[in-house]
């Protein structure tokens, strides 16, 4: 009974809105744009976070990645720098580091050594400057690198010192290999390597690319670790006629996979201690994806809050718009208020009527704003290529804010309407 009464009051409130359709729509616009931009901003924020998560997640959040870095050369480097042995540039991670990590650091699942060398890869007369990645078979699994066709490197390859390789599809294009690449033979420097697998490309992006020391030209060639170490060694030469330079980096990368996610940070500190003792020159860098993720996430969240705060200003303006128009409406409909009071409406009925109107306007505006938000997000995604995710939470937030805007913007005009003296309201022109 009481709820039917409420329904009737509600219906009566809505009729007033239908009585002034143009004004209702115009009043709504502020909320439509406000909610639309809040939705879009939340979606962009969520999208950026998702991208971040994917990008860094690719590196495996249980991994610790240590890369060799060439130390800054002092100006006068010809004489007695300890990093130089004669004309050999000797720096970076050592086999000893790898061994010590394996032997002394607890709670570790795997430790993978990686050695890189710059090599020319030939297909007939076409060639490309490529990076040879000497990796153990687990490397692919640890970084979640997927094989698009063929197979990954195997322990058997290691044992056989097999001349096999896994490549990225971009390299095939550069070398003009268009038929089925599996089984195809590449000449790397003076040795022949058979392609056994091709990687899928989706992992080589942004931050992951940097951490994986991959380059944008996709010229990585993955070969068995032992094959490189035993057949070629770690020293590489470069230069041109007359002036030669040699580089000797034993390991370009060590990847540590920690057993327990909770121990990642602690383990990274322990490894840092160990390495800093071995390398006073700090010719390495450590990347802890988990740590990077946490930092970037924090930054992203601050940014998201700022975005939403800016978008909320338009919502606020929308709310002020409603309040403003409602105040005008109260003046314009003073006589109606007087009539309703004379016919028995209590103050609370008048308040309810105006709140119904403002809340309806703002909820309708909110719903339209959600559609607008979807459209904005689509447009942004098409034109910028950003990732955007519209979460159910953001829709809920938008609707809640709309209701709140409706009520707060309605409360003052409604109270003013209810406070009118019926007799003078009836006399109002």
């Amino acid at each position: 009974m009481i709820s039917r009464k409420k329904k009737e009051l509600l219906r009566m409130g809505l009729q007033s809105l239908l009585g002034y359709p143009m004004r209702t729509v115009l009043t709504m616009l502020g909320v439509v744009f406000g909610v639309g931009s809040v939705i879009a901003m939340l979606a962009l924020g969520a999208g950026a976070e998702k991208e971040l998560l994917q990008e860094i997640g690719r590196l495996g959040i249980q991994n610790i990645i240590i890369n060799s870095v060439e130390p800054e050369q002092p100006e006068n480097n010809s004489s007695s720098s300890s990093s130089r042995r004669g004309w050999i540039n000797y720096y970076g991670l050592k086999f000893k580091d790898h061994r010590q990590i394996v032997e002394t650091i607890p709670g570790i699942e795997r430790v993978l050594p990686v050695h890189l060398s710059k090599k020319k890869a030939w297909n007939g007369s076409r060639w490309i400057e490529s990076t040879l990645f000497a990796v153990e078979p687990d490397y692919f699994e640890v970084f979640g690198l997927e094989i698009a066709s063929g197979r990954a490197l195997s322990p058997q390859d290691e044992e056989d010192l097999a001349r096999v390789c896994v490549v990225r599809s971009g390299l095939l294009q550069e070398l003009g290999i268009y038929e089925d690449p599996v089984g195809y033979v590449l000449t790397i420097e003076d040795q022949k390597f058979t392609i056994v697998g091709v990687l899928s490309e989706d992992r080589f992006q942004g931050y992951a690319q940097k951490a994986l020391v991959a380059d944008a030209r996709s010229s990585e060639i993955y070969v068995p670790y032992q094959t490189v170490l035993k057949r070629q060694g770690t020293r590489s030469f470069s230069g041109s006629a007359g002036s030669w330079e040699a580089t000797d980096v034993e390991l370009n990368q060590i990847v540590v996979e920690v057993e327990d996610l909770d121990q990642v940070i602690l383990t990274s500190r322990t490894i840092e201690n160990l390495l800093s003792r071995n390398h006073p020159e700090k010719d390495y860098e450590m990347i802890v994806p988990l740590e990077v993720l946490a930092q970037r996430r924090k930054t992203q969240q601050v940014f998201n809050i700022a975005l939403v705060a800016i978008a909320s200003i338009s919502l606020l303006v929308g709310g002020i718009g409603i309040a403003n128009i409602m105040l005008a409406t109260v003046t314009e409909r003073t006589r109606e208020i007087g009539v309703r009071r004379a016919l028995g409406a209590q103050k609370r009925h008048i308040i309810a009527q105006f709140l119904t109107e403002t809340t309806t306007i703002s909820i309708l505006g909110g719903v339209l704003g959600i559609f607008l938000g979807f459209a904005l997000v689509q447009i942004l995604v098409i034109f910028t290529g950003w990732t955007a995710v519209i979460t159910p939470i953001s829709i809920l937030v938008a609707l809640t804010i709309s209701v709140a805007v409706g009520i707060t913007s309605g409360i003052y005009p409604a109270r003013r309407a209810a406070a009118l003296d019926p007799i003078s309201a009836l006399r109002h022109q």
Binding site: V339, G344, A345, Q346
Partner: protein, 227 residues
């Protein structure tokens, strides 16, 4: 002698908070019995509308007692006065006071919104009242599409919807030409014939004479009654 439906005792009304306050009603005594048709006359500014607003519980007297249907309504809360207006009083205004964006039927239903009974169950009731004022063919029109006389008949239908104890009319024919005014007065006559209690303010001697009892107000006092 039946119990009067309205009983005013020593009613004073002052306007304004600060001295000199305007003393408009200066001790009104008035009893109205069930089924009476009373007209109130008086010069402009004599306090007729003030009196009617008090009778309609739109305002409360500064002094004195007002019994409506045996109940003292002179010092009630705003909510209680609203409830009394809704249930016991039917207003008919000079300027009709219909709500412009509502249809004829919806205008008549407005008092139901604020009362106990639901619009749905009173739908037939509203239609039959509109039928009795001759407007059953205009239910979904808006006030702007009606003539003045039709508007006033909608207002009369609206005043009847909650079956009030008294009908109060402040110059109901003031905005009408004499012919449509006559029609409205005939309608009031027939309501009186059905046993309704009506109190009507008018400037027009002839109109006043349609009522069984004329009250004249002068300078805030009842000075003359003819029956």
């Amino acid at each position: 002698m039946p119990q009067p439906i309205i009983s005013l005792e020593g009613i004073h009304k002052y306007y304004g908070e600060v001295e000199p306050r305007l003393h408009v009603l200066k001790g009104i005594h008035l009893d109205v019995t069930q089924g009476e048709f009373v007209s109130i006359m008086g010069t402009s500014g004599s306090g007729k509308s003030t009196l009617l607003n008090l009778l309609g519980c739109l305002d409360v007297p500064t002094e004195g007692s007002y019994l409506l249907g045996g109940k003292d309504v002179s010092q009630q809360s705003d909510d209680e006065l609203s409830r009394i207006r809704n249930e016991d009083i039917g207003f008919i205004f000079q300027s009709f006071q219909l709500i412009p964006q509502l249809t004829v039927l919806e205008n008549v239903q407005v008092p139901l919104l604020y009362g106990e009974s639901s619009i749905r169950e009173k739908e037939e009731h509203c239609r039959s009242i509109l039928d009795s004022v001759g407007l059953s063919h205009r239910l979904s029109h808006r006030p702007s599409q009606l003539s003045g006389g039709e508007c006033q008949r909608v207002a009369i239908a609206r005043s009847l919807v909650n079956d009030p104890l008294i009908l109060l009319a402040d110059e109901p024919t003031g905005n009408l030409d004499s012919k449509t005014g006559q029609e409205v007065l005939e309608l009031m006559d027939s309501l009186h014939g059905e046993g309704r209690t009506i109190i009507m303010i008018t400037h027009d001697q002839e109109v006043a004479l349609r009522a069984q009892r004329q009250v004249r107000i002068h300078d805030g006092l009842v000075i003359e009654e003819t029956s």
